[in-house]
Amino acid sequence: MAPHSPGTEQIDTLLWIGFVAAAILIVAVIGALLYVLRRYRGERGTEPRQVTGGRGIQVRVGAALALFAAALLVLSIVYTDKARRTPTTGAAGFQVSHSEPLKITATGQQWLWRYDYPNESFSYYKLVVPVDTAVELDLVTTDVVHTWDVPDLAPERDAVPGKTNHVVFSADEEGTYFGQASTLSGQAYAAMRTEVDVVSPDEYEAFLKSQRQGIQAAQDRVVGLIENGEVP
């Protein structure tokens, strides 16, 4: 996996900071533990010096740990804040009026994602978005909680009944990105995947048009069948 949006780049940086911090803590604890266990062995008969503690060293260790935690807190807030920032649509992107993000609704339903585009066309499973364009997904659900999770492009977000959740991202490169719903939603949960196709603005418009025509044709066909009395 590699980050392909400004937000996930920030997440990736913070992830590395977190890895390093965790590694420092793990190595310090396990290293010190192994050292004292190897160094201080003694069988019955020996009575070591009965040290009960030391206020000075306690305060110093506590302060060092507090500083470590505070540094992590500051770094987390800085990078989380950057990751939350709404990206701007670049020159190569799809130009929406008033420089607002392109709004698409993602509806979670057992066990498929439906995407509704601004021109009333829609698609299942596959989300098509223009490259270098700020996209805002409105996440809703028709049944249970679903988590929309495409780690290369955006932070994960839950679609919760009765609420609308939002996620914004801007893909920096054309290509196909995969995601998988990541909150247990019932039987076919593991198969509830999604795909984001990042394409050029022209291809995006062409996709919307063809999708709309396809939907229209299908509707016409159904209407025709009903009128002919072939479908009750």
């Binding site: 996930t8 920030q10 997440i11 913070l14 992830l15 900071i17 977190g18 965790a22 590694a23 803590l25 793990i26 010190a32 533990l33 004292v36 266990l37 201080y40 062995r41 003694g42 019955r44 020996t46 009575e47 070591p48 040290v51 009960t52 503690g53 306690q58 260790v61 506590g62 740990l65 507090a66 470590f68 935690a69 992590l72 807190l73 770094l75 987390s76 990078y79 989380t80 939350r84 049944d143 249970v144 909680v145 932070p155 994960e156 977000r157 839950d158 919760v160 009944p161 009765g162 609308t164 959740n165 995969f178 998988q180 719903a181 990541s182 909150t183 247990l184 019932g186 039987q187 593991a190």
Partner: protein, 561 residues
């Protein structure tokens, strides 16, 4: 035979039991009998949880496996979660607290024994309800059944009801035991046993009991709402009818996060008894360790929204949870530092309890350091709901409940049975578990953080780069299971055949080693006047002093303590 004795002798060697042993146990309100019921029950359910974990790992050994159907997998997953948390981790901790804490404070029993008895059997009833599979279809809703998946509309069979009833009964039982422990620790301490002299494990018992009194009722309330929603057309968690699915998440995560902390405080409390005794030094900065344990319980529980970073809640709440979570570095770090400082400069005897205690410190540190990483909000947006979080939770909780629990088991087993657990088998078990836990869960860290493999899924797809990780994790899970099984077998064998341990098996400093092994029903015939935090050390010093004086022509004998 010679002449008949003229005066009949009355030999009092314990009255013969009037009733069968199991009837005695089933009707006993003695904290030691009930503690053993809790511990035995917990270890039995540990075995079941391990079997369930292996079933899931078998299913996830190869991509798109069809060993278990999706529904079966979800049922096994749900049962595994409830078993590991409600039927193993909490009762194991409470069992040791309930057995040991009254002895440590020099009490002859508990303050409200019938309450503890009711609590213990409510827990057993909860386990029976969860596993009465002939009557109920097991729930498919997962470890934490989020609303509205848990609602009647999506799971119309009675599995979720059985789950809610089972966990509710068990939680109610835990709250009752906690009430008894709080009352006992407040009211029944021996003369001179001030709070400042209370052993660390009894402090841990007090902290965990208070914690349960806070989080237990929250869970019981949430479960009651769930049952009302399902059975009486309630709308507490129905998002489309004016209720709030997020309410369930808040209430349940408060309980689950608090439980996480309870397991850690239990394990660290037990380790803080084992380390000083086997290093033959007092616990370094005792007061700071006790304060840190209390801080872990409070700060950790307040970080419950760390589980909700992807939910539609304000980012300020996420920062709040992150602050609490990161603040946890200080108390956990201080406890680790003080434990290691206790070992430093000591005369360390590397016995099985210390081996498991060291293993617990190592695995907990890996788990909690990963949780530190997850608690950073933007990182949580990426790693939560991946197997990376599965691995972090399992490192911390296997470290706390299994390694820490086994350390406590090896430590107090001589007190409970009068016999020591086999040392050789304990060592084999430990090293197998240590290898197993690393091989089982490190690959899941990598699968989650590198490839984003999601949690709770009944299958994964080939070509996503996680095939090897999952296969290795499955092998590791079997190694871990073999190690756990060895200790369970060791406990069963040693109950009858272990080496006799004596009453003070390890040279401990706290009062439970003053009682017989196993203790009499009334715990103590006489109680010493407690004058320090290490009463048994004072007694040994007094005996040494008296025998030294006895060798010289003593003018008057000094009474012992």
């Amino acid at each position: 035979m010679s002449a008949a004795t003229r005066n009949p002798e009355l030999v009092v060697d314990g009255f013969p039991p009037r009733r069968a042993r199991w009837v005695e146990i089933a009707t006993s309100a003695d904290h030691k009998d009930l503690g053993r019921v809790l511990i035995t029950g917990a270890l039995g359910f540990l075995f079941i949880a391990v079997v369930e974990l292996l079933l899931m790992r078998l299913q996830l050994a190869i991509p798109e496996n069809t060993f278990l159907t999706p529904v079966t997998f979800n049922r096994v997953l749900s049962l595994y979660g409830a078993t590991a948390v409600f039927l193993f981790a909490i009762p194991l901790a409470l069992g040791f607290f309930y057995y040991v804490a009254p002895l440590q404070i020099g009490a002859r029993g508990t303050a409200l024994p019938r309450l503890g008895q009711l609590g213990t059997w409510l827990y057993i009833a909860g386990g029976a309800v969860l596993y009465s599979g002939f009557l109920f279809t097991p729930t498919e809703a997962g470890v934490n059944p989020l609303a509205p998946l848990s609602s009647l509309a999506f799971l119309p069979n009675n599995g979720v009801d059985a789950w809610a009833a089972a966990t509710g009964l068990a939680t109610l039982g835990f709250v009752l035991i906690a009430i008894d422990l709080v009352a006992t620790l407040r009211r029944l301490r021996a003369p001179g046993m001030a709070w400042r002299r209370l052993p660390v494990f009894s402090w841990a018992a007090a902290i965990c009991s208070w914690l349960l009194l806070v989080i237990g009722p929250v869970m019981i309330a949430a479960l009651a709402m769930l049952l009302i929603d399902r059975n009486f057309e309630g709308i507490f968690f129905a998002g489309d009818a004016g209720g709030s699915p997020l309410l369930w998440q808040h209430l349940s995560w408060i309980f689950f996060t608090g439980t996480y902390m309870l397991v850690l405080v239990f394990a660290l409390g037990a380790i803080a008894e084992i380390v000083p005794a086997l290093a033959r030094k007092p616990l370094f900065n005792r007061g700071a360790v006790i304060g840190s344990l209390a801080a872990i319980a409070v700060l950790g529980t307040l970080a419950w929204m760390q589980n909700m970073y992807s939910a539609p809640i304000g980012v300020g709440w996420m920062y709040f949870a992150m602050t609490m979570s990161l603040a946890l570095i200080v108390p956990v770090g201080l406890v680790f530092f003080n434990l290691i400082a206790t070992l430093s400069g000591g005369a360390v005897r590397m016995r099985a309890p210390l081996l498991f205690a060291a293993g617990a410190i190592a695995t907990i540190s890996i788990g909690l350091a990963s949780e530190v990483c997850h608690s950073m909000v933007a990182v949580g947006w990426r790693l939560q709901h991946t197997t990376d979080s599965t691995a972090a939770t399992h490192f911390a909780l296997v470290g706390g409940a299994v390694f820490g629990g086994f350390a406590a088991l090896h430590w107090w087993f001589p007190k409970m049975t009068g016999r020591t657990m086999g040392e050789t088998l304990a060592r084999f078990s430990f090293w197998t578990m240590a290898v197993g836990v690393l091989v089982a869960f490190v690959p899941l860290f990598l699968a989650g953080s590198e490839e984003g493999q999601v949690v709770d899924a009944y299958k994964f797809f080939g070509g996503t780069g996680v095939d090897a990780y999952n296969l290795i994790a499955t092998i590791g899970a079997f190694v871990l299971a073999a190690g756990i099984l060895m200790t369970l077998v060791n406990a069963i064998l040693s109950r009858e055949n272990g080496a006799p341990a004596g009453h003070d098996a390890w040279g401990g400093d706290s009062l439970e080693w003053f009682a017989l092994s196993p203790p009499e029903p009334h715990n103590f015939d006489v109680l010493p006047d407690v004058r320090s935090a290490r009463p048994l050390r004072d007694i040994r010093a007094a005996i040494a002093h008296r025998s030294a004086r006895a060798e010289r022509p003593a003018r008057e004998s000094q009474p012992v303590a």
